[in-house]
Symmetry: C2
Subunit: 443 residues, 2 copies
């Protein structure tokens, strides 16, 4: 049997590696458009900010290592079309056949269709080439002093820190009225906004980019819907992702209107023997089983295992994600899991929530810091459905407990209020912030 | 109705405060042998090591605050006996009556009955007076250069760090063959032993103190069962605790052979209207519902709420503890929860375990450190029953997730293997150490 995988990033190579572990003899071929495989793209902001210099540090596992496991890799080859009836994948002047096909082509940053978008000094940050170019320009082109980041998602925020470290004046543009309002409720958004202000990031909320004005074909200013014009020397686009699925249009593969491939919990598409996962496919929300588009490494890594196991004949399902995410923004750490209160309300869930401001540990051990927790339950079922934290000193890692409780569909009651979390003065207070929140919600 | 509480520490004052919140009119009286109440005794090692100078920092809530809530406190009054038939508690030449009685007298450090034990420069560390004395001696008595710590429990280990900071030569004596072998399995014990060695703590395992040799009535050396004699200038006893229940002997109150008061999950003793909790009473092991003696602040704090609620007429139970604990030892952090493998095996549980050595976060963000996880399941039920971690950078706070999973009686399966924990390069790796361990155990 031959499994063909389109795409050499985390998902594709994850499937390949797991397949090989499952089956020593399967013909496994990866076809992909880059020279390298298995990029750890999450590290790109740290590469740009000179946390390290060797770009190959970002390669989780070299091509040669896969080839040693007898995984065939066809590189620098962009797939142009698929004939699902004949089980053929076409690239250049060639094609590959398959018994099982895994589409793991990922996504690319959205480029808004506005005037000036093709000018120089307009960057994105998804591939290694993107990273190398951006790092070079930001470190070596002295004409770039002011940079506009378009879109305050996780990458946009990480790049605020990276570009500040490189002494750039940063303008952060966000269409929504609050920072990260789809990922966090307003209490945490405000903490993020305060941190950006403290760190001299020029944050423009509720603003939309409508034109990039060029001079000698280089970025000269950005024009906003409000009429504001801001002089900048470069633009970083981080407004979201679009699945790399244009080549599959009209192929018969089911996709939604954004080009996201529809899969079930086994990673199966509407076409037999064809699987997909990662940033080009939908996944499930664990809590309500809705299809979501959530291009996170954590989901890709788990879903790729599921697909490999299913191809190997096991019956495994991806049970979903609660979109757990964590971010360091300068010295502010934030994390989230489950549904936000706002999203839960929008979905018609009767919610009860509490927002606690406390400290990370006792006042008599060094470096005590503020710690915040928003905790959300479904008031009908009493289940915990969401949590958000902000703090310092890695203290927000306690959100792991809340992710675990959501995962186990834990209900608020006296027994849960007594959950036994460890205490010692340098780590916590004898009544932890989680206990305070559970107690508030158990009334 | 009048509730009388014997003891002014965390448990007693916890009951008092919660009772007052439950009932504005109840007569609440605390009788206790000290001048102060609600000592945060866990902070004593940090006080001794000069993390702070003001001893009252350790008082969680001043007497006056309680009195403002109309809680009567009779201080400096050691209870001498109780007549449970007449509902009378005797102290000095006086007595108090009660409708409900809460015995929260705590425990005192065990003083082994050996020659020399009454000499000078032999310390314990439980009360504020103990702390003030030890701090004074360790900081101001230049004749004290070498200190023997007897017993390598949590306090013994914390004091290794504190006394090292004060430039003492520290000798740590432990009867067992491995450090902390009742709290940790050998993999973690070894990491602790290595850290002690690195930090020049002279650790003597499998050794028992049989005599303290005095000179001019001051500590001069300790004599061990092996015949070894070590010259030291002071001794700190931290071999364990003994409930302060001698005054209750032959009173009719049920206690075990160690003088620990037997209570049920409501905190009720064998005598009607008489409750007990904290360091003088047993509590339940959440996993197997066995009675245990576990003098931890986290248990006292929860059990005191349970008692107050029951006195107020609610029906609340203490569901038990999994003896979650965490400790910083120099730059090594360790944490535990649930049963150790050794204890589980001794109890006849069929266990499966894994020990993982990994890193706390990605290699390309600063300060990456080793991270260790031991995870233990019951192979018959597939439930997670224990976890132990060691690491740095607060990375071991992820044990909160494992405490939560034990609390929810989570079973190892494909769904649990997919638990959605947050990932970003400064905090974790895309496949977290918890995922690695779950995956190993789900086979």
């Amino acid at each position: 049997m031959k499994t063909l995988i389109i795409g050499g990033s985390a998902t594709g190579m994850g499937v390949a590696a797991r397949l090989r572990r499952n089956d020593m003899n399967m013909d496994i071929t990866v076809i992909q458009d880059k020279d390298y495989v298995s990029l750890g793209a999450c590290g790109l902001p740290y590469f740009v900010a000179n946390n390290f210099e060797e770009k190959n540090t970002l390669i989780a596992r070299e091509k040669e290592k896969f080839e040693e496991s007898n995984i065939k890799i066809i590189s620098n080859s962009k797939v142009e079309s698929v004939n699902f009836k004949e089980n053929k994948v076409f690239y250049k002047d060639n094609y590959e056949t398959y018994d099982k096909l895994v589409i793991a082509v990922g996504a690319k940053p959205i480029r808004p269709n506005i005037k000036g978008i093709e000018g120089e000094n307009i960057f994105v940050l998804t591939t290694l080439e993107d990273g190398v170019l951006l790092k070079d320009k930001m470190n070596n082109d002295n004409s770039i002093k002011k940079v506009a980041i378009i879109g305050a998602g996780f990458i946009g925020l990480e790049m605020c820190e990276s570009l500040s470290e490189l002494k750039k004046d940063v303008y952060l543009l966000e269409m929504e009225e609050k920072i990260m309002q789809r990922a966090f409720d307003s209490e945490i958004s405000e903490l993020i906004e305060n941190k950006l202000e403290e760190k001299k990031i020029n944050t423009l909320l509720g603003e939309q980019l409508i034109e990039i004005k060029l001079k000698n074909n280089k970025v000269n200013s950005i024009l906003l819907k409000s009429g504001k014009e801001i002089e900048v020397d470069a633009v970083l686009l981080s407004v979201g992702f679009q699945p790399n699925t244009q080549f599959l249009k009209d192929s018969g593969l089911e996709m939604n209107e954004r080009g996201t491939i529809i899969v079930n919990t086994k990673g199966e598409t509407n076409i037999e023997h064809v699987y997909s996962a990662g940033d080009c496919a939908v996944s499930k929300n664990f809590i309500n089983q809705e299809d979501i588009y959530s291009p996170l490494a954590t989901i890709a890594s788990k879903f790729s295992k599921v697909i490999a196991d299913n191809i190997a004949g096991k019956q495994v399902e991806f049970v979903g994600s609660i979109q757990s995410a964590i971010l360091r923004l300068f010295d502010l750490e934030i994390a989230r899991t489950g549904l936000t209160e706002q999203i839960a309300v929008n979905k018609g869930i009767k919610v009860k929530s509490t927002f606690i401001k406390d400290k990370d540990h006792t006042n008599y051990t060094p470096n005590q810091k503020d710690l915040y927790l928003k905790l959300i339950i479904n008031e009908d079922t009493k289940e915990i459905i969401g949590a958000q934290m902000a703090g310092s000193n890695n203290s927000i890692l306690r959100i792991y407990a809340l992710a675990a409780l959501i995962w186990q569909k834990a209900k608020i009651d006296n027994a849960l209020e007594q959950i036994d979390l460890p205490y010692a003065p340098p780590f916590s207070r004898s009544v932890d912030i989680i206990h305070i929140a559970l107690s508030k919600l158990n009334k």
